[in-house]
């Protein structure tokens, strides 16, 4: 459903900087793909291009056969709102709104009916276990809860593609695990395609496939077999192969 063809990104400036070089990537419908790589390897740039927040210098991005980068600015905003869901490292919740209001925001902007919105928010909040905090303000809840609210917001309009940028970056291992399990269950139950950018091999091990990039180029990819534990080990091995020691990358161990 998502297809990247020879995507490159060059940041102009006094010294032009090539952030991405000829990236080809395909994500099937319902697939869960993780992108890993050291800092500065271009992971976030790649995600920004897929999320249409940034435009590629050359190459094409196709989502279900259409290129969103050809849309006009306002149409693009609507496209993001309707077709994509976002989860960020810093949650990106609006602290002037309550949890419930944060969740329904994408629907509100689209002018949905109030009863619909309430129903959907309630349903998704129950499935994520946050229905008890619906009327709290964002500074009153913990990081794990905040990320779950963010997931609820990303999912409430049933997007085709869910993009997560370091969703576990600000969470402890327990909360990370919960969040990842939730993402997996969303991926399995709703058949939502999921693209995850992360440093955390633990989080990446929940995916179907991990794509490694280094210096803006695809380095390699590994697929998950039967066991998540073995997959996790393979990811660690791959990271240490890419450079550094095996234990450099994550302090989180199972």
């Amino acid at each position: 459903m998502l297809n990247l063809i020879k995507v490159s990104k060059v940041y102009e400036g006094k010294v032009a900087y090539r952030a991405l070089t000829d990236i080809n990537l395909e994500v099937e419908k319902g697939e869960f793909v993780a992108i890993m790589g050291p800092s500065g390897s271009g992971k976030t740039t790649l995600l920004n291009i897929i999320s249409t927040n940034d435009a590629p210098t050359t190459g094409q991005v196709e989502l279900e056969g259409k290129n969103p980068h050809q849309l006009k600015k306002n149409a693009l905003a609507k496209f993001r709102r309707n077709e994509l869901g976002f989860i960020f490292q810093d949650f990106n919740l609006l602290h002037t709104l309550t949890v419930q209001e944060n969740i329904v925001l994408p629907l509100t902007l689209d002018g949905a009916r109030v009863s619909d919105m309430q129903q959907k928010a309630q349903a998704i909040a129950e499935s994520l276990g946050i229905d008890a905090i619906m009327n709290k303000r964002t500074y009153e809840i913990s990081g794990g809860q905040a990320q779950r609210v963010a997931i609820a917001r990303a999912m409430v309009h049933e997007p085709k593609l869910l993009l997560a940028d370091e969703p576990t970056g600000n969470l402890d291992s327990k909360a990370s695990k919960d969040v990842m399990k939730m993402l997996v269950s969303i991926n399995e139950n709703n058949k939502t395609s999921l693209l995850l950018v992360t440093h955390d091999p633990q989080a990446a091990s929940y995916s179907d496939r991990v794509v490694f990039i280094r210096d803006g180029k695809l380095h390699s990819e590994i697929r998950r077999g039967e066991s998540r534990q073995a997959f996790f080990q393979k990811i660690i091995d791959m990271l240490s192969l890419m450079g550094g020691d095996g234990n450099d990358f994550s302090s989180v161990r199972v």
């Binding site: 905003a77 609507k78 002037t96 709104l97 209001e101 925001l105 994408p106 509100t108 689209d110 002018g111």
Partner: protein, 629 residues
């Protein structure tokens, strides 16, 4: 890096953060300085201008200075509010309270120094402009040339360095550092909505209604007595209006999901309630300051028009000659000759009409002027009024236009009575015409020439002469007027010369009043600007996170526009209503209709505010858009 260096670098390398505060301080200095340039002008110091005007100017200088003090204090405290997080970080790193205070003090001294210097320099640029304006508004014989205002510079510099020093001390002293966690969370936690109670909301409405009611009900001298209580009641009412009633309304809206959850409403209202406490305070201050500005300027302008318009309307003729009652025919003829000679000498081309005007007793117990139609028509022709031709059985009532609100209209009195003629009959008045022909305050009748012959004998007869000037330039007319009033004492009245004298005496008051009014209004505007830009980083962050989810440009503009519109117009609308009520009360005091003047003044301010709103919105939207793209 010593601590002092740290404090200075913190300012110098962080210009963007400090610029709003710096600019408003500079603006205040500039205002004071331009005023000082004007007040200390050498023309005034040689004693040619009257003492009262000088005292007035000193007082206004004082008012501007005191106002500057509070204005800068407010700007500074709101600026410090927005830096809570930074203080939190510093305390976290181990800075003591004393050090934070020292830092704030040093920063303020630095900014104070540069804004004083900057304000003086900027003031010098506008010096010539302000002197030109002053020269035109004030009618003074000397011209106000540009000069190098050494004294003004000194006074401004010393007084503002002193002011900044005091404020820095003061702020450093009162700076309260709350719990560390609050400081660090600072910008994420709402300061909350003030508590809204229904009782207080109703009280607000009641106070305003009572204040307005009293202000509109009292008449004449009662206005002066009622003024202070009404001001207190309305001020209190306004405060409760913004802190209670507005909160109450927003809460109602927020609880109604079908409104609150409609499209961009959610962003807009949640923000309003999030900032309600700060907003309420700003709204209140802006509303009150603007009201003061509107009322002051409206009152001054209205008073001037009261003085000049009345004179102008009562005297349509350029010069009027009315002899004393016991002047003999020779004296009058002599006077008229002298007048005409002076007019010729001054090259004033004027048409003259003279008439014997007779006053008669009426059936209604009073003496009134009755004029022949032919006399009326001669005088009317002079000022391009329509001729009238009354029938033999009618009398036409002429009254002055109704600029002056007298106790009872002249026409009402005259309508009740009739004109007796010799054969014992009586002619009834038919209709009323409003015109200033023959300029008789109490109104008069015009009858046909035939009827005039049949009137009973007059009580008294006066000779009247008028001149109407065509196309001669104004200065000559005034000059001639001056000579006439001096040489043909108390008998000749020259409208233009009288107006010239009024404007000359009134000019300084008007100028100073305008100046202060505008200062108040502009600073009200800059309060709003502060309120808006203090939160801009927060807003940018917010819009950026929404933009990531997807927010179209029209939607962004809509939210931002509404937010700014509420901020800009709610206090101004309140101030406009306050101002309108105040000016209505004023017009009651003088018995003079001020509707046109009040409309003009309030309309101008409303227009300025709209323009200001559009400009600020343009830049604000641009800044926010730049951030999210």
């Amino acid at each position: 890096m010593t601590f002092r260096q740290f404090a200075f670098r913190n300012v110098l390398r962080n210009k963007r953060l400090y610029i709003a505060y710096f600019l408003s301080s500079m603006f205040t200095v500039m205002v004071f300085f331009t005023f000082a340039i004007f007040a200390f002008h050498p023309v005034f110091s040689d004693g040619s201008i009257n003492k009262n005007a000088l005292i007035g100017m000193a007082a206004s200088g004082g008012i501007i200075y005191v106002f500057s003090f509070f204005f800068i204090l407010y700007s500074m405290s709101s600026f410090i509010q927005s830096r809570k997080k930074e203080f939190g970080l510093l305390i976290n790193l181990g800075a003591s309270n004393k050090q934070i205070r020292l830092m704030v003090f040093l920063e303020n001294i630095l900014i104070g120094f540069f804004s004083t210097v900057g304000g003086i320099l900027a003031g010098l640029v506008f010096a010539k402009a302000i002197l030109l304006i002053a020269e035109n508004v004030l009618i003074i014989d000397e011209s106000l040339d540009f000069y190098f205002p050494m004294l003004a510079i000194m006074v401004t510099f010393v007084s503002f360095i002193l002011l900044f020093f005091c404020i820095s001390m003061f702020v450093a002293f009162i700076l309260r550092t709350n719990k560390l966690v609050d400081l660090i969370k600072g910008d994420k936690q709402s300061k909350g909505e003030p508590k809204a109670s229904i009782i207080l909301s109703i009280l607000a409405a009641l106070l305003l209604i009572a204040g307005y009611g009293t202000a509109l009900a009292v008449k004449g001298f009662g206005v002066v007595i009622a003024m202070i209580p009404v001001i207190i009641v309305v001020t209190l009412g306004t405060y409760i209006l913004f802190t209670q009633l507005s909160v109450y309304c927003i809460r109602l809206l927020k609880n109604n999901k079908s409104i609150f959850w409609r499209k961009t409403n959610m962003l807009f209202f949640s923000d309003l309630s999030f900032r309600m406490k700060d907003n309420a305070r700003t709204f209140f201050m802006v509303a009150i300051i603007s009201t003061v500005a509107f009322s002051a300027i409206g009152a001054l302008y209205g008073f001037q028009s009261y003085l000049t318009k009345g004179v102008k309307e009562m005297n349509p003729y350029t010069y009027t000659y009315s002899p004393f009652l016991d002047d003999s025919k020779e004296v009058i003829d002599n006077d008229l000759k002298q007048v005409n000679a002076i007019l010729e000498e001054e090259n004033v081309d004027a048409k003259m009409e003279t008439a014997e005007l007779s006053y008669f007793d009426t059936t209604g117990d009073f003496t009134v002027l009755i004029a022949k139609a032919s006399v009326y028509n001669r005088f009317a022709a002079l000022i391009d009024e329509k001729e009238i031709h009354p029938e033999d059985n009618e009398a036409i009532i002429i009254e002055q236009s109704d600029a002056m609100m007298t106790q009872q209209k002249a026409s009402e009195v005259l309508m009740k009575s009739g004109v007796p003629i010799e054969n014992g009959q009586e002619i009834q008045p038919s209709n009323v015409i409003k015109t200033a022909v023959l300029a008789e305050v109490n109104g008069y009748y015009v009858v046909s020439d035939a009827v005039y012959e049949q009137l009973t004998s007059p009580v008294r007869t006066e000779t009247n002469a008028v001149w109407k000037v065509n196309g001669t330039n104004e200065e000559q007319v005034i000059e001639a007027g001056k000579k006439l009033e001096q040489q043909v004492e108390h008998k000749v009245f020259s409208v233009d010369y009288a107006l010239y004298e009024i404007n000359k005496a009134y000019g300084p008051i008007l100028f100073i009043g305008l100046f202060i009014g505008i200062v108040f209004f502009v600073s009200a505007g800059s309060f709003l600007y502060f309120r808006l830009f203090m939160d801009i980083d927060e807003e940018k962050r917010k819009f950026r996170s929404i933009a990531k989810i997807g927010l179209t440009e029209p939607e962004l503009k809509k939210v931002v526009t509404r937010q700014i519109a509420i901020l800009f117009f709610s206090p101004i609308v309140v101030a406009l209503i306050h101002g309108a009520v105040a000016l209505t009360a004023l017009s009651r005091l003088f018995n003079y209709n001020l509707t046109a003047e009040a409309g003009l003044v309030l309309g101008c301010f409303a227009l300025i505010q709209v323009i200001y709103f559009l400009i600020v919105r343009f830049f604000y939207v641009k800044q926010v858009e730049k951030m999210i793209l």
